[in-house]
C-alpha cells in the first residue's frame, strides 16, 4: 500500500525490505519467501536478535497460528516484538482519553449526587412547619412532575389507582408509588449535610422527607463511602484499646514493683493501702486485657464469612501474645506483705539502723580517741578520706551580671548562654556539651509554657508580656 519514501510512521504487516503492507501475517510471510528469498542472508544477521522472542511465541501462540510459526522458524524472519529492552519510540499521552472516560463514569454518580445534596440543603433551610407552606417551599426548590402524565410507577411499573397512590420525590420531583419511595428523617439529612442534629421535641414525631429509591440509594452510597473513609475496622479499634490498656498496665506495674520493693524493705515511702489500690487496678487491667483479646480472637467467627488465612492468624496471634503478656507481666506480681510482715520488716529495718548508728558511734569514739584532731575542733564526725583519692581542678564560671526577668526560665536561659560562652573561651568542651543540652531543654520547656499560655490566653496584657519576652529570647539568640 505504502511506498518506501512515504511518511515515516508505518503500521501493519509491512515487509521489512520493500515496505509494502501485506494485510496479514500469512500473506506477509509467503510474500517474503517468494520475493525476497535471495536477500535472506542479510536478514539472517537479525536471527539471533529474534531468537528469544520466537521461542516465547511458539509456546504461547494459539493452535491456529502454529503453522505460521513453523514457517517462521524455517524462514528465520520474524517481526514480532521482542522482550528485550527497547528504546522508546514515538509516544502519545492517553491521559485525556482516560480522563474523558473516567469523568463520564464519575459524572454518572457524582453529578446527580451533588445535585441531590444541594437540593437537600435548600429543602432543609427555613423549612416551614405548616404542611401546606412546606409543600409550597418544597415545590419552589424542586419542580414536581405533573401527576397527569404518569400512570405507572416508573420503578415497579405498577399502575396507579386508589390503593397505589402517586407520591413525589422531594429531591428529584418524579413520581413513585409508596413501595418505591422511602422516608428520610430530617436528622439523617442533616447528618449527610454535616449540619448539627436538632433535638426532636417530646411528643412530636420526627419529620421526614419522602425520597424515591434512586435518590435515597445515591445518598446512601455516598454516606457509606464517607464513613468507610474514616472508619477503622473493628479489629483495629479493639487492638488500639488493648494497646492502651497494656501501656497503662506497664506503667502501673513499674510503680507497683517499686512500691513492693520499698515495702518489703520496711521503708515508709509508700503505705500498704496505696500499694493495694495499685494492685487492684492492675488486676482490673489484666481482666480487661483478657476480655479484649478473647473478643479479638472470636471476632467475626460464626458470621457468614468467618476470618480466614492471614486475618484469622492475626487474631489468634493477638490473643496468644496477650495471654503471654498476662502470664509474664501481670499474673506473676509478687504478693504484698501482710500488715504483720510489713511491721516486722519495719522493725528489722529500725533495728538494723540502730545497730548501725551504734556502730558508727563506737567507731566515732574510737577515732576521736585515736586521732587528736585539733583543727576540726568540735566533735564533728569527720569521715577520713582515702589516701588514694585526689581532687582535680574544678571549673567555675565567672559571676556575670545577668539582667533579671520576671520569668525564671528566661533568666536561666540567659545564664546558661553566658556559661556556654565562658566554657568555650576556656576550651571546656565537655562542659559546653552539657550546657548546650541543658539549654535545649530549657528552650523546649519555655516554648511548652508559651504555647500553654497562648492556649489559656488569659488576656491581652499577658500576651504582650509573653511577646516581649519572646523578643528577648530571639535577640539574645541572634547575639549568641
Amino acid at each position: 500500500m505504502a511506498d518506501a519514501d512515504d511518511p515515516p510512521v508505518l503500521e501493519g504487516f509491512i515487509c521489512p525490505i520493500c515496505k509494502s503492507d501485506l494485510g496479514d501475517a500469512t500473506k506477509l510471510l509467503s510474500h517474503f519467501e517468494d520475493v525476497h528469498s535471495e536477500e535472506q542472508d542479510f536478514i539472517k544477521s537479525f536471527k539471533d536478535l529474534y531468537d528469544k522472542a520466537k521461542k516465547k511465541i511458539l509456546k504461547q501462540d494459539t493452535p491456529s497460528s502454529t503453522g505460521i510459526n513453523n514457517v517462521r522458524q524455517t524462514s528465520a524472519a520474524s517481526f514480532d516484538y521482542s522482550h528485550e529492552p527497547q528504546e522508546i519510540g514515538t509516544t502519545r499521552s492517553r491521559k485525556k482519553k482516560f480522563d474523558a472516560i473516567r469523568d463520564e463514569r464519575m459524572q454518572r454518580l457524582a453529578v446527580p449526587t451533588n445535585q441531590l445534596i444541594i437540593r437537600l440543603g435548600k429543602l432543609l433551610e427555613n423549612m416551614p412547619t405548616d404542611p401546606l407552606k412546606r409543600k409550597v417551599h418544597e415545590q419552589n426548590i424542586v419542580a414536581w412532575l405533573d401527576g397527569e402524565t404518569v400512570d405507572r410507577c416508573p420503578n415497579c411499573a405498577g399502575s396507579f389507582y386508589l390503593a397505589r397512590r402517586k407520591h413525589h420525590c422531594r429531591t428529584c420531583g418524579s413520581i413513585m408509588c409508596n413501595d418505591c419511595s422511602h422516608f428520610m428523617s430530617l436528622n439523617t439529612a442533616r447528618k449527610i449535610l454535616d449540619r448539627p442534629v436538632e433535638e426532636i421535641p417530646q411528643g412530636n414525631t420526627e419529620k421526614n422527607l419522602r425520597l424515591c429509591v434512586h435518590c435515597i440509594s445515591l445518598l446512601e452510597v455516598r454516606e457509606e463511602k464517607r464513613e468507610s473513609r474514616s472508619a477503622k475496622p473493628i479489629l483495629s479499634q479493639f487492638y488500639q484499646r488493648l494497646s492502651e490498656h497494656k501501656q497503662q498496665a506497664h506503667d502501673l506495674r513499674l510503680q507497683y514493683l517499686k512500691m513492693y520493693n520499698s515495702l518489703t524493705n520496711g521503708e515508709s515511702i509508700y503505705s500498704l493501702d496505696e500499694a493495694q489500690v495499685v494492685k487492684l487496678k492492675l488486676l482490673k487491667l489484666a481482666e480487661n486485657i483478657d476480655a479484649l483479646s478473647s473478643k479479638i480472637a472470636v471476632l467475626g467467627k460464626g458470621t457468614e464469612n468467618p476470618p480466614q488465612g492471614q486475618a484469622l492468624r492475626l487474631q489468634n496471634m493477638v490473643r496468644a501474645a496477650s495471654a503471654v503478656y498476662l502470664k509474664t507481666h501481670l499474673l506473676n506480681l509478687p504478693g504484698l506483705p501482710t500488715e504483720e510482715q510489713f511491721a516486722e520488716a519495719q522493725n528489722k529495718r529500725r533495728e538494723a539502723i540502730n545497730a548501725r548508728i551504734h556502730e558508727e558511734k563506737k567507731r566515732k569514739s574510737r577515732l576521736s580517741n585515736q586521732i587528736n584532731n585539733v583543727k576540726s575542733g568540735p566533735s564533728l564526725p569527720k569521715q577520713s578520706s582515702d589516701p588514694t583519692v585526689s581532687l582535680g581542678q574544678g571549673w567555675v564560671p565567672e559571676k556575670t551580671k545577668v539582667n533579671e526577668y520576671d520569668d525564671p526560665l528566661i533568666e536561666q536561659i540567659n545564664i546558661i548562654r553566658s556559661y556556654i560562652k565562658e566554657a568555650k573561651a576556656a576550651h571546656k568542651y565537655d562542659e559546653v556539651a552539657s550546657l548546650e543540652e541543658n539549654l535545649q531543654e530549657l528552650k523546649k520547656e519555655f516554648w511548652k509554657k508559651q504555647t500553654e499560655q497562648e492556649l489559656a490566653k488569659s488576656g491581652e496584657s499577658s500576651e504582650a508580656a509573653s511577646l516581649s519576652s519572646y523578643d528577648e529570647v530571639r535577640q539574645s539568640d541572634s547575639s549568641h
Binding site: 517499686k258 521503708e267 515508709s268 515511702i269 529495718r349 529500725r350 538494723a352 539502723i353 540502730n354 548501725r356 548508728i357 556502730e359 558508727e360 563506737k362 567507731r363 583543727k375 576540726s376 575542733g377 568540735p378 564533728l380 564526725p381 569527720k382 569521715q383 577520713s384 578520706s385 582515702d386 588514694t388 583519692v389 585526689s390 581532687l391 582535680g392 581542678q393 574544678g394 571549673w395 567555675v396 564560671p397 559571676k399 545577668v402 533579671e404 525564671p408 526560665l409 533568666e411 536561666q412 545564664i415 546558661i416 556559661y419 571546656k428 565537655d430 562542659e431 552539657s434 550546657l435 541543658n438 531543654e441 530549657l442 520547656e445
Partner: protein, 213 residues
C-alpha cells in the same frame, strides 16, 4: 595538678576510666548549697555568698583508685520562685545532695520534702546524700545528728554533717557519692562504700575481744 593522672596510670592495672555524673544540689535557700560546692570545686569560702539565680553550673573531677569521676554539678537556687526549674535538673541526675542547715529545724523539714520528691520523681537509681551544713555553729544547733542519721538510714541516704566554712566533710561527702555511684563494671563493689568500713570495724572489734581473752 597537671600530674593528677600521672600516678593513676602506672599503678592501675586496668586503663584509667573516666565516668561522668550529673549531680544536683537541692535545699532551702541560705542553707549553704553554693558555699558547699564552691568549697569542693575551688576550695574557697565567702562569708557573704550572693544568693544564686536560677541554677549555677560547676565541674570537678575526682580521682578514685583507677577511675576518674567527673562531677557536673548543678547548684540550684533555693528561693521559692526558682522551684519550677528544679525538676529539669534532678530529672537526669545520677546523684543529688539535699542540704539543710543544722541551726534551722525548718530547713530539715524542707530537706525531707525534697528527698520525698526525689524518691518519687527522679531516676530510681539516683544516689541521694543528705548534708547537714553549718556544723561549725555547734552552739546554735537545732537538728540533732542522731535524728538526721536515723532519717537518712531509714530512707537509704548517705548522710554527713558538713561545714563549708571549715571544709569539714565537704570533700568527703562528694567522695562518698563518687564511691556509691555505679561505675559500669564494679557495680557489686561500688555500692558498699559504707558497708566496707563496717566490715572493717567488725573485724577490728573481734580482734580486740580475742586480744582481751
Amino acid at each position: 595538678m597537671a600530674n593528677k593522672a600521672g600516678p593513676q596510670r602506672p599503678n592501675g592495672t586496668a586503663q584509667a576510666k573516666i565516668c561522668q555524673f550529673k549531680l544536683v544540689l537541692l535545699g532551702e535557700s541560705a542553707v549553704g548549697k553554693s558555699s558547699l560546692v564552691l568549697r569542693f570545686v575551688k576550695g574557697q569560702f565567702h562569708e557573704y555568698q550572693e544568693s544564686t539565680i536560677g541554677a549555677a553550673f560547676l565541674t570537678q573531677t575526682v580521682c578514685l583508685d583507677d577511675t576518674t569521676v567527673k562531677f557536673e554539678i548543678w547548684d540550684t537556687a533555693g528561693q521559692e520562685r526558682y522551684h519550677s526549674l528544679a525538676p529539669m535538673y534532678y530529672r537526669g541526675a545520677q546523684a543529688a545532695i539535699v542540704v539543710y542547715d543544722v541551726t534551722n529545724q525548718d530547713t530539715f523539714g524542707r530537706a525531707k520534702t525534697w528527698v520525698k520528691e526525689l524518691q518519687r520523681q527522679a531516676s530510681p537509681n539516683i544516689v541521694i546524700a543528705l548534708a547537714g551544713n553549718k556544723a561549725d555553729l555547734a552552739n546554735k544547733r537545732c537538728v540533732e545528728y542522731e535524728e538526721a542519721q536515723a532519717y537518712a538510714e531509714e530512707n537509704g541516704l548517705l548522710f554527713m554533717e558538713t561545714s563549708a566554712k571549715t571544709g569539714t566533710n565537704v570533700n568527703e561527702i562528694f567522695l562518698a557519692i563518687a564511691k556509691k555511684l555505679p561505675k559500669s563494671e564494679t557495680i557489686g563493689g561500688s555500692g558498699s562504700g559504707q558497708g566496707r568500713r563496717l566490715v572493717e570495724s567488725d573485724t577490728t572489734a573481734k580482734t580486740s575481744t580475742s586480744c582481751c581473752k
